[in-house]
Subunit: 604 residues, 2 copies
């Protein structure tokens, strides 16, 4: 009797709790067809189910926008719009999508994955690509510095174009793009060319495109210094507000998300954008171009705004993006007006954060001066009312006895994540390796970074991007930085400094604190190590700098450049192969700076 | 006892049923402030109430977008977007908004009135205007036909501009408009100049704007024939998809709506756009420019798509619009694919109808050939499933035994309204007076029409605008047409003809039927009366044509031009003052045409 009862119980438990695997082919989802409609329906049918795995047999599955589910979506750092969605997970729980090594091929303006208000979702074992990229790659086959003109080769299949009224128009899936943002890549390095900004073209100014032979177009326009050299590749990547419509994966208030063994070859925006998510794990996420292209995503490989819990990245490769490898931050929201009664009329500061869920009841927030960007009061949110994507009403538990003069902002203290990055590679991309502004605990260990701009940027600003989060506790150790900063100029493996504009100034107290940059290896044509401003608690130790001849030497800037820093230790660093002693420079308002012993690096 | 009971009953009834008037000032809504937030809240508070009047004391009330309620809105014949709304009536019943003679002044991109899923709403006694218009009015002060250049005066207050990279940019509330669609008006007539198309400028082609003295800008660009003459006014009105964002009044599935004694001076789109509405009454609606401007609305004064019941217009004045006075029609929706099981994958045909509510269960629809635009099967809709703004699944009660070859469309037969237009004036506008394609009963009586294009256009097309509705029963009587058609060419007081393209052809059977054009008075520089094609049942009688010298005579076209028409009577018409006998021309495929007796009008 008891045995049978146990068996029945076991069966029941099995039915309720065990992972149920669905072979998507049973739902008409097969390689070689437009799967959008069937995938939409299947995912919708899972809304009330738990512990389900969708399994794809290996193959190429195609997704088109025409029949796709559509929602108006605000996506931070992208262009908000009515978006068609291939995998629309809204409120789903405990779902695994296992691509089985498949390629998910997208066509036109469609968002591959949206995970909104989901919990415990795993995406794994597939590749995201687009049949036609959102950018264009145009090899330069002639270049005339005298008149600033140049000729590009236009592949009629991969980058079909039309010339109309002297404008070069890129033919996309069902729209045309004007020439817009642009950058020049070097096909030998698959990275931006050294000093690429010299070759940028102002396509907002009048220019003329004309046929210059079969599949060749001559462009006469306003170049910054010189037309791009022969052998380079001009990358054109669209104009606002239609150039960031389609991130590959959008995590919106999604908790406990895992992305494993996923490759992203392209996106009309970022690879992964996460906002107000609790715990995100990326393991084996690869963002790279496909065999036919130099460039991968239109924007950052990964980006996290207002998240919490732990963001964990390991064994990832991010390369060939047109923007940063990773960016982790919060948002400074403007106080438009204190309405009394503990109620504030607030405004999302940056237009690409419109629609951000800034706060909910129970969140701790800081009130801060918009002039010094330093907080002066902490309390709890009791109510948030959204007026529209721009504005909201925030009611606080308490307010200061006297509201200070001058412009104010808020930041949400509850939604700053810890970050663990181990064994990742970020390289050959435009812009930075990693931007980190979070008050959580941060560990970057055993990563390889070779970005065009700063390797690691710990910034925070309340005037341009409005990315909040003076750091509290960061360890950067055991990483290698390989020729970081080949945009040229004062570019560093590590820059830690808030970005202030002319109406802002340092206040009393430092913006960032507790940054340890230790035991890293830096191969460098510039000898740059660390630049820091408004940091208290900074250790730079055990790092090895090796001279590199891979780019023209940059010798105008100190190796370590400190301004308004406190409690700094610089010791046991070793600079090798440079023709000079690298310089540690400190401003007069620095305090408690200890330098030495170091090798090849010293105060002047 | 009985008396008291009656009294109590009366009091109760009074409380429940009597109209409750709210003085908006009691809710902080006062002239001279941004009323948007308070009006939003007050209207929201009425959601569950019935029989309420909001009363405004006379004054100017201002509305700004920053704090306004926001919804993604699909608006037919406009540009869909996230819209800020001043008066957001969603699901309201039995509400009257009485402006008390006030001016409601709008600023920037905000939609004044949205009535969605409402019943029994009255809007009355107010004026809608915008502080800054959506178009620009630029007086031409120099004109050089030799090189195609011209100089415009730019009022720095009303039409502030910036010149950037040779482009003239119009500074709006919080955005810049490029030069785009344009037309030339004559300030002496407050209407488009004769043959205005000759002066149109292709701002998509390269052009150069340069300063030409204080508040003067020289434009060198591609004009169609000649630059606009000195003394005319160039009207520039934006580019797609940002030029039709803000209609003044949007009725969306709103039943029993009355608009009385309302004036509309401007709109970033149409004055009134109504879709899937049952019974709309416009009495004393005035669409006209304000004292400072020549032009009123960016698009049609009024427009009705897929409505039913009765549309009643009386005592209205529509003038100075940049598009038609009124347009009443349904929509042809494409059948993309028959999926079997009585289910059709359908697609909204025109991008400015995306999001249209085409059908709901219970609606009768016709299936029709997209080639002949003639219906072949009628049945009922049993289910509609929206995939996105473009596509929907429609399930029908029955399907033909054999689905015909060739492309198919559907039209919704349930949602065609009757139309009564009496005692209205439409004049001095770009485009047509009235477009009418509805299967309902139509009476146009005692109206005065003086439009630039056709006076009354009974069209229907399934290839360009996809406006459905071959007419069944139209009476046009007692109206005056004053110099209609001053765009020049083959323009008529009445044109009745489906618009076919080169892939379409006439089928068996006529598209329109039963049109009576009787006892109208026509003052005309061309002697044009009626052009008709594919009409059965056409009476043209008792009309008086008087020669007008107000525009250059047009003598190239017949007065009455008939093609593939049947059952036509042309009698008792009187043409006076022309230097020739006006011609009735009929094609060989006409049948049963009776001409005469007429005076000054005959077959050749």
């Amino acid at each position: 009797m008891r045995c049978i009862a146990t068996l029945i119980l076991a069966l029941t438990v099995s039915t309720v709790f065990a992972d149920q695997t669905i072979d998507v082919a049973d739902h008409g989802i097969r390689p070689g067809t437009d799967c959008t409609f069937a995938v939409n329906r299947l995912i919708e049918s899972l809304a009330d189910r738990d512990a389900v795995t969708l399994r794809f047999a290996a193959g190429q599955y195609d997704f088109y926008p025409e029949n796709a589910v559509e929602r108006h979506r605000a996506v931070s750092n992208h262009d908000n719009s009515l978006k068609r969605i291939a995998f629309p997970l809204f409120g789903h729980q405990n779902v695994t999508i296992d691509g089985g090594g498949s390629v998910f091929m997208f066509h036109g303006r469609i968002s591959p994955f949206v995970l909104a208000q989901c919990t415990d979702i795993t995406l794994k074992n597939f590749t995201i690509d687009w049949q036609r990229s959102f950018h264009d790659e145009l090899p330069v086959i002639a270049s005339n510095p005298d008149d600033g003109s140049f000729v590009v080769e236009v592949d009629p299949k991969r980058y079909p174009h039309t010339i109309k009224n002297g404008n070069l128009l890129s033919e996309k899936y069902d729209w045309q793009d004007r020439m817009g943002s642009n950058i020049v890549f070097d096909p030998k390095t698959n990275a931006p060319i050294f000093n690429t900004r010299d070759y940028s073209i102002n396509f907002s100014a009048p220019y003329t495109a004309s046929h210059a032979g079969e599949n060749a177009v001559k462009i006469s326009g306003r170049v910054r210094k010189s037309p791009p050299p022969v052998g380079s590749v001009l990358i054109s990547y669209g104009t606002h507000p239609t150039s960031r419509l389609c991130p590959a994966i959008h995590l919106d208030q999604a908790n406990q998300t895992r992305i494993q063994n996923v490759t992203i070859h392209a996106a009309g925006g970022m690879g992964v954008i996460a906002e107000r998510c609790d715990d995100v794990e990326l393991d084996g996420l690869v963002v790279t171009s496909n065999q036919e292209r130099i460039v991968s995503t239109r924007a950052d490989a990964t980006h996290f705004i207002g998240c919490r819990g732990t963001i964990r990245l390991q064994n990832c490769l991010f390369e060939h993006m047109l923007d940063d490898g990773i960016n982790v931050h919060g948002a400074y929201v403007k106080v438009v007006e204190y309405l009394g009664d503990r109620q504030f009329l607030c405004e999302i500061s940056h237009f690409q954060q419109w629609g951000l869920v800034f706060s909910k009841p129970g969140d701790r927030i800081a009130l801060l001066s918009r002039t010094t960007v330093l907080p002066f009061f902490e309390t709890e949110v009791t109510k948030t009312r959204i007026l529209n994507e721009l504005r909201l009403l925030v009611t606080l538990a308490e307010v200061p006895d006297r509201m200070p003069e001058g412009p104010l902002s808020m930041e949400n203290l509850t939604w700053y994540p810890d970050l663990v990055m181990k064994n990742n590679t970020i390289r050959e991309n435009r812009a930075r390796g990693a931007l980190i502004t979070t008050k959580g605990k941060v560990l970057l260990q055993d990563n390889a970074i070779a970005s065009q701009m700063h390797g690691i940027l710990i910034e925070g600003d309340n005037n341009k991007w409005y990315e909040s989060g003076g750091v509290q506790n960061i360890t950067i150790t055991g990483n290698t930085f390989d020729n970081v900063g080949f945009e040229g100029g004062a570019v560093y493996p590590l820059l830690a400094s808030p970005l202030l504009n002319e109406t802002q100034h340092m206040g009393e107290g430092h913006f960032h604190r507790n940054i340890r940059f230790t035991d890293n290896t830096i191969r460098s044509f510039s000898g740059h190590l660390v630049r820091a401003r408004s940091v208290t608690g900074l250790t730079i130790s055990g790092n090895r700098l090796e001279f590199s001849k891979d780019y023209p030497a940059v010798t105008d800037f100190p190796a370590v450049d400190l301004e308004y820093c406190d409690d700094v230790t610089i010791r046991d660093n070793d600079a090798v192969g440079f023709d000079r002693t690298l310089v540690v420079q400190t401003s007069d308002d620095c305090s408690s700076v200890s330098v030495g012993p170091n090798s090849g690096l010293d105060r002047p």
